[in-house]
Subunit: 111 residues, 2 copies
DNA sequence: TGCAAATATGAACAACTATTCATATAATAT
DNA sequence: ATATTATATGAATAGTTGTTCATATTTGCA
């Protein structure tokens, strides 16, 4: 892992995208209902309105944040009629959330 | 991975701490010089001034950010005379950086 | 063409935060 | 005691960003 300033900046940008409650809810919403014991988990696709309802945030906010997630390479979109289905883009997103999740659980023990 | 609002907030806090260039430099500075092929990597300890010099940021800034990292459970401190040696606290920090690193490298291929 | 549903967008504001500067504290040695 | 080294702290500021509100765009359908 050789880290120069350019890499630091990109890592910062990537982590900034993940470091937001609304975006984390969107991501967890898109990775829920996955069978973690399945070694080839199938893709969860949800449209903007579904996500909005499930996480309890406004349509506008969800749309704004989905754009951030999409520009950052966290999710991808598929158009079908008037709806646009979003899903997680790659495995790294899952991994970042998984490890962060484990980290906060471990901290609970020390509180 | 059951994620409620309380967990989301803690994940947000954790990721926010990582999502900063100066703090990433400090962390990478503390995990450099590790032999990645070593299954039991030894601890790297560095004092504030060393870190300040190595990453090219002021002593004050490094001290401020080390406090953030310490409060967030990313690093720990050991006092020895007038110097205070900082080191990475747990393996999750390494993992978050490793996966984020891989994520930004993968994105380079798509640019 | 007109209407409804789904999503995106732009402006505006409030809240947060990274950095700098000056200063304070703590430990050590002379 | 005084000086020096190492680190921490507090205030102030400038830049960033999450959210809301209003509105625009796009698609499908009667």
């Amino acid at each position: 892992m050789y880290i120069n300033d350019n890499v630091i900046n990109k890592m910062q940008d990537t982590l900034k995208i993940a470091a937001d409650g609304t975006r984390l809810k969107i991501l967890s919403c898109l990775l829920n209902e996955l069978d973690v014991s399945d070694s080839h988990p199938h893709l969860i696709e949800k449209c903007v309105n579904d996500i909005s309802l499930q996480i309890g945030s406004s349509q506008s906010l969800v749309s704004h944040q989905l754009k951030v997630l999409k520009d950052g390479g966290f999710v991808k979109a598929r158009k079908e009629g008037t709806k646009i289905y979003y899903s997680l883009k790659d495995e790294h997103v899952r991994q970042i959330m998984q490890i962060t999740y484990e980290h906060v659980l471990e901290d609970d023990d020390n509180d």
